[in-house]
């Protein structure tokens, strides 16, 4: 048992009517102790049946247990208790997405995004749903004239998902050509939204590279702001083996171009600008 869970358990034992059960349940959920988390949440709800965050916790535990209908019902309760609860809207959107009800999912995620305080996971989910809507008729069927008939290797929803994934992977392909360079689009959490980063051995390490480099964004923004330099437009750094350039895209995304040292710096910067425009259009087109 971690120190945090032990501390929260002790606190709850001292005061069983405390709302600390929500934190405890969340810690247990995050550490995969789902049966225990469920017991804590249900017991807490017996004392606090009208607490929206407690129902939200229970919904997330149900999701982790694969119980989507039960999760939906809990989030529905949350929205009755607290109609502006961004977490519940995001949750309902997630369940609807998993059920292939894309148009409804889009509506809930849009509302969550509008009130979610910049939660990057909502923006990413919303973007994915909108791109899938682009490739489907919104309820899992196919748009007339869209290529592919959905019969090849999976459900229409899965096929739309594959097409979104492929579109994202190839977003910068024509800009990069066959050169020794690669480009990634990262969300605010450093997760890869588009692009690939292949090693010489043919392994896609985009997630690892993205996670490693995304932190530079915060320091760049902080330095620009504190020194009165205005909004930052790019960070470029050279290493012994590569040139890396990055630029902000829309509110919370980042485009990153990495090229071999043999690629001229000026070309890297031009490619960065092109990729930033492409990424902005791609994200903006569905925002």
């Amino acid at each position: 048992m971690s120190d945090g869970i032990r501390r929260l358990s002790d606190e709850l034992a001292r005061d069983p009517s405390s709302l600390v059960f929500i934190q405890l349940g969340e810690e247990l959920r995050r550490t995969g102790q789902l049966d225990l988390a469920l017991r804590v949440a249900l017991r807490g709800l017996e004392r606090h049946p009208h607490d929206a965050d407690a129902h939200d916790l229970l919904a997330r535990i149900h999701v982790d247990r694969g119980e989507l209908t039960a999760a939906f019902d809990e989030w529905d309760t949350v929205l009755k208790l607290a109609p502006d609860h961004a977490g519940a809207r995001k949750g309902v959107g997630y369940v609807l997405f998993k059920q292939g009800r894309l148009a409804e999912a889009e509506r809930y995620l849009s509302q969550a995004s509008a009130q979610g305080g910049g939660d990057p996971s909502i923006a990413t989910a919303l973007h994915m749903v909108r791109r899938m809507l682009h490739f489907s008729d919104g309820v899992g069927g196919y748009v007339a004239g869209a290529s592919g008939n959905g019969t090849n290797g999976g459900t229409p929803l899965a096929e739309a998902g594959r097409r979104v994934e492929e579109e994202a992977r190839r977003l910068f392909a024509d800009i990069l050509g066959e050169g020794e360079q690669t480009a990634l689009l990262l969300d605010a959490s450093g997760l890869v939204t588009a692009g690939v980063y292949m090693t010489e051995e043919g392994r896609d390490v985009a997630q690892e590279v993205g996670a490693s480099l995304a932190g530079i964004r915060e320091d760049a923004a902080r330095a620009s702001e504190h020194l009165g330099l205005g909004a930052w437009s790019s960070v470029t750094f050279e290493t012994d083996v590569a040139t890396v350039a990055m630029a902000p895209v829309l509110d919370d995304s980042l485009v990153l171009v990495a090229a071999a040292r043999s690629v001229p710096l000026g070309l890297v910067r031009r490619v960065l600008q092109q990729c930033a425009r492409r990424a902005g259009a791609w994200l903006g087109a569905t925002s």
């Binding site: 390490v205 690892e208 590279v209 490693s212 480099l213 932190g215 530079i216 320091d219 760049a220 902080r222 330095a223 620009s224 504190h226 020194l227 009165g228 330099l229 205005g230 909004a231 930052w232 437009s233 790019s234 960070v235 470029t236 750094f237 050279e238 290493t239 012994d240 083996v241 590569a242 890396v244 990495a258 710096l265």
Partner: protein
């Protein structure tokens, strides 16, 4: 102004067009080692923020398997920061947005050998 082992480097950089100041800073703690900045430029703030950015880029680059950072440029709406480091020391230049970055890059990379 007293002369230090970094005076030559700082003089070479501050006389470039568009340069508002040049500093030698400790990457580890962001403290100014030597500096020549125009009035209105907060040397301590530049040192702390530029060192943090350079350190972050170095650590991120190494984590991503891209080796050691040798030069960094931050471009912003109203200005730019260029930096090049060696061991724990980083030469930092604050410049106007329109300053010639290619020239600055060349001079700062030539100067970095004197960061010992």
């Amino acid at each position: 102004m007293s002369t230090t082992q970094f005076t030559g480097l700082i003089t070479a950089l501050t006389r470039q067009r568009g340069v508002l100041g040049c500093l030698v800073v400790s990457e580890r703690d962001g403290i100014v080692v030597d500096a020549d900045v125009r009035a209105g430029v907060d040397a301590a703030a530049v040192a702390a923020l530029a060192a943090a950015l350079y350190r972050r880029a170095r650590l991120c680059s190494e984590a991503a398997g891209l080796s050691t950072v040798s030069f960094l440029q931050l471009e912003s709406e109203h200005g730019q920061i260029c930096a090049a480091g060696r061991d724990d020391l980083v030469a930092v230049v604050v410049a106007e947005a329109g300053a010639p970055v290619a020239q600055l890059r060349t001079v700062i990379l030539q100067s970095v050998d004197s960061l010992v």
